[in-house]
């Protein structure tokens, strides 16, 4: 990195907006170049002077009240067309509601945001698509469960159950390390005819045993359950029916074998 390049990205570096590779390059350049290092220090001091909150203009006392009543007035002006039950004046009812609505709905994204389950299933589908697109389906390619299972040793803080379902038509083809919600998880890859199935496994936050729950997203089907202290998410482009079969087979096989 030369000075010109460094000057271009030095502010992004200061703001922590650079990717790790550029970050490193800037750091190196700053160690080698005194002129750039000096201008960087100048920016750091400037920033220090700006921080601390003394430059921030807080809203004056009366403003909130003023805005509130302005919004209320606007609510009054707009609401008469709703005046259906004459008995109790709609404007009077709507005005406080209007003010409250602004307050509530501006704070709404926290509430409106899709449920965490939806987000998770979106993330699972993305991980599945990524594994297919990046040509990175497996870290360990093996149809032998006794090769795949030990491969995870030392890479994860848990040992995922690895079951081959070749006889039932879903041969195991390998394993991979993946990330879901920023945690390392085990990904097992199965094949069914021309379809691939990614099975993501990680330990449950709490001991649970839940029934399967299916979803469909962007043409991919996923199915989720927990069993034996583990969370399972299977995702594939194959149809929901086959995916259910797969999940059922897997659940049967991994259930502790109790003799009658």
């Amino acid at each position: 990195m030369n000075c010109e390049e460094a000057q271009e990205v030095i502010h992004a570096y200061l703001d922590g907006e650079l990717d790790p590779v550029h970050n490193l390059a800037v750091e190196q350049h700053l160690q080698e170049c005194t002129a750039c290092a000096r201008s960087f220090q100048g920016q750091q001091s400037l920033r220090k002077v700006m921080a601390g909150g003394s430059l921030y203009f807080e809203a004056p006392k009366g403003l909130e009240q003023r805005v509130r009543s302005a919004v209320r007035q606007a609510g009054k002006a707009e609401s008469p067309r709703w005046s259906w039950p004459r008995a109790w004046s709609w404007p009077r009812v709507l005005a406080p509601l209007a003010a409250a609505a602004v307050a509530l709905l501006i704070a709404m994204p926290l509430i409106l945001r899709t449920s965490t389950e939806d987000q998770l299933s979106q993330e699972i589908v993305s991980a599945h698509v990524r594994s297919l697109m990046a040509n990175h389906l497996t870290d360990v390619a093996s149809t032998d469960q006794h090769t795949v299972k030990p491969w995870f040793n030392g890479k994860l803080s848990f040992s995922p159950p690895v079951i081959d379902l070749a006889v039932q038509g879903f041969p195991l083809i390998g394993g991979r390390l993946d990330f879901v919600e920023n945690h390392p998880v085990a990904a097992l890859i199965y094949q069914h005819r021309l379809h691939f199935i990614n099975l993501f496994i990680w330990p449950s936050a709490h001991v649970s045993h839940t029934a399967e729950e299916s979803r469909s997203q962007q043409g991919y089907n996923s199915i989720h359950w927990s069993q034996g202290g583990m969370e399972y998410w299977a995702v594939s482009d194959m149809n929901q029916h086959d995916l259910r079969d797969f999940a059922r087979l897997l659940r049967n096989e991994s259930a502790p074998h109790s003799s009658p």
């Binding site: 502010h11 100048g42 400037l46 002077v49 430059l55 203009f57 809203a59 403003l63 919004v71 501006i106």
Partner: protein
């Protein structure tokens, strides 16, 4: 009312005085109320500040005021500073009043980005959303804003 401080801070820095800033904030909340159905989720602070910013520019047009702030002068900021007092030491002597005047002296498109970044702590992405400019523009404007500010501050300090 949510985000009242953020709304006022931005309006105050843009308008340059309290009375106009209050008008802008009131306008903005009325618009926010009207456009509530247009709110598609996401970060409500960015959404509201975008409305504040637009309300300010509307206000500016209505009042046909000449915008304060000196135009950016490339000559100014290319002044060599290889020798002399270490600039870091000099800069740290800047007090609030001086900083305030220096920031207020920046052209508006620099000021708004600087305020969002340094005072509101917005990421580049959020600034891009509020100012409705591409990410690259945020980066280059912020860089120029800071270089310009540094020059203004150093000049004022040296005059002292």
């Amino acid at each position: 009312m949510p985000h009242m401080n953020a709304a006022y801070n931005l309006a105050r820095w843009l308008a340059g005085n309290d009375a106009d800033a209050q008008d802008v904030v009131q306008d903005a909340y009325l618009k926010a109320f009207k456009f509530l159905s247009g709110f598609r989720g996401g970060d409500s602070r960015s959404w509201l500040l975008r409305i504040v910013r637009n309300a300010f520019y509307d206000w500016l047009k209505r009042n046909r005021r000449e915008e304060t702030g000196t135009p950016f002068d490339e000559e100014l900021h290319s002044s060599g500073d290889e020798t002399g007092t270490p600039e870091t030491l000099l800069l740290e002597k800047a007090d609030h009043e001086l900083m305030r005047k220096a920031i207020q002296g920046l052209p508006i498109e620099f000021r708004e980005i600087l305020v969002l970044r340094e005072l509101e702590g917005f990421s580049y992405k959020e600034i891009a959303d509020v100012a409705e400019v591409p990410l690259g523009t945020v980066m280059s404007r912020l860089a120029r804003a800071r270089e310009h500010l540094r020059t203004l501050v150093v000049q004022r300090l040296e005059l002292k």
